[in-house]
Assembly symmetry: D3
Homo-oligomer: 61 residues x 6
Amino acid sequence: MPYVTVKMLEGRTEDQKRALVEKVTAAVSATTGAPPEKVTVFIEDLKKSNYGVNGKLQSDV
Amino acid sequence: MPYVTVKMLEGRTEDQKRALVEKVTAAVSATTGAPPEKVTVFIEDLKKSNYGVNGKLQSDV
Amino acid sequence: MPYVTVKMLEGRTEDQKRALVEKVTAAVSATTGAPPEKVTVFIEDLKKSNYGVNGKLQSDV
Amino acid sequence: MPYVTVKMLEGRTEDQKRALVEKVTAAVSATTGAPPEKVTVFIEDLKKSNYGVNGKLQSDV
Amino acid sequence: MPYVTVKMLEGRTEDQKRALVEKVTAAVSATTGAPPEKVTVFIEDLKKSNYGVNGKLQSDV
Amino acid sequence: MPYVTVKMLEGRTEDQKRALVEKVTAAVSATTGAPPEKVTVFIEDLKKSNYGVNGKLQSDV
């Protein structure tokens, strides 16, 4: 606790995900007072063909 | 806003997903008053081996 | 199946939710081929104080 | 209803998932009073490279 | 890990939730091999006015 | 995109949530390259009576 889920378009590198987990954990810990070892981060990779905005599938845009 | 997530068995074609995003966005916009460009749709593909009903894995049914 | 979740700002009336469920179910059924009785809709009410865009809590905007 | 989602590291066998669905459905039915045929279970497979604890991506640990 | 979410209609007592957490944790631990102290359970209470099946808001049924 | 959900025990003040949204948005933007105006944050408040660890409801602990 807290549990953080980041949903974003697929294609980020493992280096980007490593940095994301590090920095988001620090931000959550600093602002909620939870110790870093209690912060869990889940990343969800989204395909453009599973993502729609304004009625349009983003793989078409 | 609104954010819509549709979880369904994998195997739908991109044409079906395109139509789904278009029609669901229209339905949400018409009934909530949100403009279509503010409606986001996420699709989640579910494997039968990750789906259980009545205690039975659906890949066995 | 399919399972649809609609997250939106709180404050919609029960009439709006009733219409939302009806129209979204019809849209999902028509485009996926699932019969309407297999379509489930969950609505999640979001408070502005639990919603941030561009780094700003929306209860402040 | 109820709808149960189990998020866990990928790599479980189909036999483990079959047992998980069976036993979790029984546990939910027994404690909530819902009949087993009304219990739905979704499994989400998580990659270690999408999972962070204590600021560290678990694929590095 | 694993992380379990149980979404169900509101109105269950704390005793039912206590039993649910105990029994679901045991079922998940026994079938996945994860130790009980690594199993997390989240309960989500659903209002009938936020739940639709077959195009009908369940608060109307 | 990205969409971030932070689930945590209820009781944080609006000031804490404001800081959380600001700092998490900055962390996500810096590490993914997404502009801040494309980062959305949802906060979910969790009751202790809806949260279980190690088979124990946290309202009992």
